[in-house]
């Protein structure tokens, strides 16, 4: 039986913006088992990055966890001190962001930056010589050939720099990697190579992964399970196969259809009318109801609760709850 590594329960986050309080995350609940890969799918403003930042305690100063808990390997992260969280980050939970490839120091060779990441964690390497040896291993692990190790970041391509960022995020030997849009600014071939690398690292290191993306295809390529976010809510969760092929929430269903495919009929465009709501002016009731084709009377009046459809399978939708949809 697989062990639960991360458990998020009823997590809510608010941002203060002037006198307003914006609900960026509303009662998010899910679990990540050891060695499993969870995709977090959402459009802009859906709360997916807030979720990625809230787990390791990296929310900006104007954000606040207003409810809920995050448990990692039996320890509460929501109740942890700043100092404890600092130890968790890197050592237990690694992180890679979209702009990670631009965070390398342009004035220092790549390998010495990886060495620094290794030495930042007590007990990982004993001395500089060991750190250099280990750093070279890490770079090889992410397919950076030896002749490039002593070069500077500007001599690397974007994809290579992103691979270095992944190597550095793994320096402390984490068991969970949170990757927020790690391939978004990259070309398809580079993107493919990074996804292949993350896939391989999962096999080799038994790493669990939370992969945040707006791209359904990318999540389908690499994840086992997926949560779909809309307006700060997790509107659906299930296995990637379930979410993709048997979506329950009308938003998920339409999003899957909206994905451009090489196998679809040319000249046919399927979108969702309207656009995602702004957090500062959410519609009453279900935030998706103004764009929803299956809307019921109560959808504009009352916010839906999660309807549990099975283990790890749920949707937050009145229509699903009413059992109108099969």
């Amino acid at each position: 039986m697989t062990m639960t590594l991360l458990s998020v329960d009823g997590l809510s986050v608010q941002y203060r913006q002037g006198r307003q309080r914006l609900q960026a995350l509303d009662r998010a609940s899910f679990e990540v088992s050891e060695g499993s890969r969870l995709g977090v799918l959402g459009e802009s403003g859906s709360g997916k990055s807030t979720l990625a930042l809230a787990i390791p305690g990296l929310l900006p100063p104007n954000a606040e966890v207003t409810a809920g808990t995050v448990m990692f390997d039996g320890r509460s992260l929501t109740g942890a001190s700043a100092k404890e969280l600092e130890q968790v980050r890197g050592r237990d939970i690694g992180m890679v962001f979209q702009a990670a490839m631009n965070s390398l120091d342009p004035l220092r060779p790549v390998i010495s930056q990886v060495m620094e990441a290794l030495m930042a964690h007590p007990g990982v390497v004993e001395n500089r010589a060991a750190a250099r040896k280990r750093a070279a291993e890490f770079l090889r692990m992410v397919d950076i050939r030896d002749q490039y190790h002593s070069m500077y970041p500007h001599e690397y391509s974007g994809g290579m720099r992103q691979r270095v960022a992944i190597a550095m995020s793994l320096a402390g030997g984490p068991r969970l990697l949170i990757a927020d849009e790690p391939v978004t600014a990259l070309d398809v071939i580079t993107q493919f190579q990074i996804l292949g690398l993350l896939d391989r690292l999962k096999q080799e290191l038994g790493l669990a992964l939370i992969f945040v993306s707006h791209d359904l295809g990318v999540i389908a390529s690499i994840c086992d399970e997926a949560i779909v976010m809309y307006a700060g809510r997790i509107v659906e969760r299930g296995t990637v196969h379930e979410v993709l092929h048997q979506p329950k929430h009308p938003y998920t269903e339409m999003l899957v259809q909206a994905m451009p495919r090489l196998t679809s009929t040319r000249g046919e465009f399927f979108g969702i009318p309207g656009s995602p709501p702004s957090l500062s002016s959410l519609p009453p009731g279900c935030p998706f109801h103004p764009r929803c084709p299956a809307v019921l009377a109560k959808c504009s009046a009352e916010e839906p609760e999660d309807t549990v459809l099975g283990p790890g399978r749920a949707a937050r939708c009145h229509v699903v709850a009413a059992g109108v949809r099969s």
Binding site: D187, F192, G196, M259, R261, R266, F269, G271
Partner: protein
């Protein structure tokens, strides 16, 4: 509005078009960067040509050179039969009316102080295409509703901050087509938008194209989008066209190994990363070297001796399916077939 009687022949005839940029510093200062290298192509009237390539492949520079926004280093571009560099002032002004652009970023392209009516009416006023205020309003309302703003007059007084990203991009499209250009150059027009609103933009472009008989050059890095909107697709690699053909030919039966790699790399709902293989080598870093042969050779799994010795043929002239691969006749490449996904997707009820 006066309509210019179109001459027969293609709207764009580019021949041996090259664009070089000066390198300002670094190790290779003085050695010009050849962003577009001897590209020849024709774009038929009413046709949509998609230019596909990775970042740095020269696709944006190519379309800017075609539209006259970037000076040519060599070669020529004819617009509807007229040589663009030889045009006088008045003809250039006229040309600017006939070629319009839509760019990637709808957030940066609009002034926060100008409302929807100002944005869409300005081109009409600049080119003196409206006889009266009433006429102006009529044209603006007409094009806005064609771009999905209904009822159009209700949007006249709105400012950009009141519009969503998708609405802003539709507004910019309206401002581009209100003066009835012959050619619309759209450079990654949906790349910054959410997936759920992309379809709306593509649908508007497709409708406008049909109703205005627009020719369109559509630049994208996404083959799935090129497939959905393009009649023809040109694939660029390092400043060169490497393959040209109908959308059907490029996607279903590619004839250049680079196109095949792009198709293989495209993530889709088939999933299972580990099961797929990409027929491309290396990380693209070695390809900076100047080769007398094919530029894709260092990364090509099909490369043989001939590929380092012989310069590949130019593609893009004519309408048949063409590949710049020296071994195109000998190798067999795989495209994405129409049935592939439905098979992987399984039955709806599974």
């Amino acid at each position: 509005m006066t309509s210019v009687v179109a001459a027969p022949g293609p709207i764009i005839r580019a021949r041996d078009l090259a664009v070089e940029f000066e390198r300002r510093g670094g190790r290779r200062r003085g050695d010009p960067l050849r962003a577009v290298d001897e590209v020849s192509l024709d774009i038929g009237k009413g046709e949509t040509l998609c230019i596909v390539g990775e970042s740095g492949s020269g696709k944006t520079t190519l379309v800017r050179a075609i539209g006259g926004l970037v000076p040519l280093t060599s070669g020529s571009v004819q617009f509807d039969g007229a040589e663009m560099v030889k045009l006088g002032r008045a003809a250039r002004r006229q040309l600017r009316r006939r070629i319009q652009y839509v760019f990637q970023d709808p957030y940066e392209s609009l002034s926060p102080r100008r409302n929807v009516f100002d944005v869409v009416s300005e081109p009409l006023r600049v080119h003196r295409l409206a006889r009266s205020r009433q006429d102006l309003e009529k044209h603006v309302a007409e094009v806005l509703s064609q771009c999905g703003f209904e009822p159009a007059t209700e949007y006249f007084d709105r400012y950009p901050h009141e519009l969503s990203g998708g609405q802003r991009q539709r507004l910019l499209i309206a401002a581009a087509v209100v003066i009835r250009p012959d050619l619309l150059i759209a450079d990654e027009p949906v790349s910054m938008l959410d997936v759920s609103v992309r379809a709306e933009i593509l649908g508007v472009l497709k409708d406008l194209q049909a109703s205005y008989k627009l020719s369109m050059i559509f630049v994208t890095h996404d083959l799935a989008i090129a497939w959905s909107i393009g009649d023809a697709i040109a694939v660029m690699y390092q400043g060169l066209l490497v393959e040209y053909g109908t959308a059907e030919e490029i996607i279903r039966s590619p004839r250049h190994p680079y196109t095949q790699a792009l198709l293989q790399a495209l993530p889709d709902s088939e999933g299972a990363m580990g099961l797929r293989e990409l027929s491309i080598r290396g990380d693209g870093l070695d390809s900076d070297r100047v080769s007398s042969g094919c530029r894709f050779e260092p990364r090509c799994p099909y490369a043989q001796a001939i590929c380092t010795q012989q310069r590949p043929p130019n593609v893009g002239l004519g309408t048949d399916h063409q590949s710049a691969c020296l071994r195109a006749e000998e190798i067999s490449l795989k495209g994405v077939s129409a049935g592939a996904a439905s098979e992987a997707r399984g039955d709806p009820g599974d």
